[in-house]
Symmetry: none
Subunit: 407 residues, 2 copies
């Protein structure tokens, strides 16, 4: 699908804005979903002339993580282009990854030694404080910075989590990262020795083995966390940029690192946002409006409150977005899309598989004349239920950016 679109792309001066309210879709509580309960006069008004529908992020019944869901929204097959766990964690910490970088997720752990053999006593080191984590990372970083010509960088995360980036000398491929996790998945067991599935990943595994030995020697006397477990060895997926795939100069307006990271992977310019409010983001959008063809604007807190099970607060974020929507539309947007990356029903306190409401507004819509943007309105919308990967082609079409296919 994306290949076909790429062949048909042509450029013009249109402006596309894709607003992603993270985890937008919901489930009814006392008869209404979060979106149905929220007062959204602006979305309702626009919806009456817009195209409405629902999208399935990955496949029916599949609950996506945020990385996979965003790839799909951006038109990249999320199953064929899975983002590795290490890379996703690195993106979440705002770490830049190049084509010769490998990212690995780390956990601090505690072990006891039986002779020379470590045995895991706590896989998460009692979830040490982030502050303590920073101190330990700093100790390790001073002692271990290079192994066999590969630069090693440690980045503290929250609690017991961290990221290691291995910077090789040459461009890497996925096969270089086929190294097993060292987490034995249970206390009372010894950490797994890193091993590779093939010759090139065996080289990676040797470096990882030496890294663990040297780092764990440094922290052997740390009372709270005297060991590290590594998981999710991965490299950046090799994806066409937005410019190459769609001919779009794309700007990302997102406050949270993971979303900024995924956008950067796809060659979007990640724009500075002064704070993490929707207002701050819209300010960034306004300030940069002339410089890009496409904007991705990400609202995080619909998802956060959904995960918390806070129905009212999630509906409140939707209302806040609605109240600020005129500040976006008055910029002169040709194609406005509002949707989520997946559903996060407050009733489930988690991501879910339910289809996600979608509105596309342009001057080429078969609007139904009915006001309302909600799961049920979208169900009777003109788009029907589509796959998330079909959204980008639709946005390009509405923007007049796709040539006719065939003669």
């Amino acid at each position: 699908m994306q290949d076909l679109v790429t062949k048909l792309v042509e450029k013009n001066s249109s402006k596309i804005v894709l607003c992603v309210l993270d985890g937008l879709g919901g489930l009814p509580v006392r008869g209404k979903t979060e979106l149905e309960a929220a007062r959204t006069p602006n979305l309702d008004r626009i919806s009456s002339g817009a195209s409405l529908g629902l999208h399935v992020p990955v496949e029916r019944g599949i609950t996506p993580g945020s990385g996979a869901a965003h790839l799909a929204l951006f038109g990249y097959d999320p199953v064929r282009n899975e983002i590795g766990r290490g890379v996703l964690e690195a993106l979440g910490l705002g770490i830049d990854l190049g084509p010769s970088d490998m990212a690995v997720r780390g956990n601090f752990a505690t072990v006891k030694y039986e002779g020379d053999t470590p045995v895991v006593t706590d896989r998460r080191a009692g979830r040490i404080s982030t502050e303590e984590n920073r101190k330990i990372i700093s100790r390790i970083s001073s002692a271990v910075s290079e192994i066999s010509g590969v630069k090693v960088s440690f980045y503290p995360g929250l609690e017991h989590r961290f990221v290691v980036v291995l910077s090789f000398l040459a461009q890497l491929s996925e096969s270089d990262a086929l190294v097993c996790d060292t987490d034995p998945q249970a206390e009372g067991k010894s950490p797994v020795r890193p091993s590779g599935e093939n010759k090139s990943s065996q080289k990676t595994a040797e470096i990882a083995g030496e890294l663990i030995d040297r780092a764990c020697e440094v922290i052997r006397d740390e009372p709270a966390a005297n060991y590290m477990l590594l998981r999710g060895f991965s490299v950046r997926p090799d994806l066409p940029t937005f410019d190459r795939a769609y001919g779009l100069r794309a700007g990302c307006v997102a406050a949270y690192p993971m979303y900024r990271g995924v956008s950067k992977l796809l060659g979007m310019d990640v724009l500075e946002v002064s704070g993490d409010s929707i207002g701050d983001e819209i300010q960034t959008l306004s300030a940069n409006f002339e410089d890009y063809d496409f904007f991705y604007l990400h609202v995080k807190k619909t998802d956060s409150y959904g995960e918390d099970g806070d129905f009212g607060a999630k509906a409140g974020v939707i209302e806040e977005f609605d109240s600020l929507l005129p500040e976006i539309t008055r910029l002169g947007v040709d194609v406005l899309a509002v949707t989520g990356d997946h559903s996060t029903p407050a009733a489930m306190k988690s991501h879910s598989w339910h289809p996600v409401p979608l509105m596309i507004s342009s001057k080429y819509c078969r609007g139904r004349g009915v006001e309302g943007f909600s799961e049920s309105c979208c169900l009777s919308g003109d788009l029907g239920i589509i796959k998330a990967t079909e959204i980008m082609p639709l946005l390009l079409a509405h923007a007049g950016r796709l040539r006719k296919f065939g003669a």
Copy 2:
């Protein structure tokens, strides 16, 4: 799709019940389909809080046989995993097939001999009685039980039909069964000599040739049926079991052999049913409820009456099922699905390609609050029109049995 699901499966203690009313979908007669004409207060009540939609068994416009339709319902690609005709016929007779068994459909026929050459005079031997069939099969069985080390077993079917099972010494593959049909498809022609498409099937063809020669020698003097035609050489498809694909201990509650056979192919436990009524089946479901995660409950007579063109009787079976539904729901079902394997409109007296009504009830549904389970209610349901192979992923999702995809 099934591969992705398999990777994400996790186990819990939830109970899933999939009720398949065979041939459920219909066409309107005097404005209503069979399902619309039936009084179904229980289905209607449940539907108001359930997810509704329609499913396409194979592809748009494709009318499926029962085997293909059931494979699709169970989440197996019915086109890539076609069940051979011989195997399907064997399953319908309740014959167990192992990995070294090949099944073949047989027809008794009559021929006249021109010299040594047989020429078909009736391809179905005047549809001899089942009783006569049994007698002839018994004669052949005593005379032919082994050819070149391959065990040969004959099973009588209805009228002129029978099944031959060739039990080889080693596991077979599909290529061993690439043997042509011997039925010349017209009277006045000679039967086709079995021949194989490759080396291994050529061996099968030689055995089949000797089998035909020896068996037809035995019945050369039978006045009603002095010859046999063989078709549909096939081996069991190599499909992952329900346990391997979905992590489900699955029980089949079906009275008719073909459905029991397909379930067995997929590794379900085929449970004993004392009779062929829906009540008998529900009794089996109740008695075994604690021992399985997933139940497939099959109601045959909606299809049989559809094939008969008996609109009223088909609606009556739906009403009977509805009246017994509370006996299923009160068992404590977490995910209840009610659907058909395909449509069998009484107006057509045959299977058809029309999408099939589907209801999924769990606590995670975007119910629409409208009572009614029918083709038209399902058309405005929240599931839209999906493919049959998407049903199992949805059931697993509703049962909380699928992990998140990606982070």
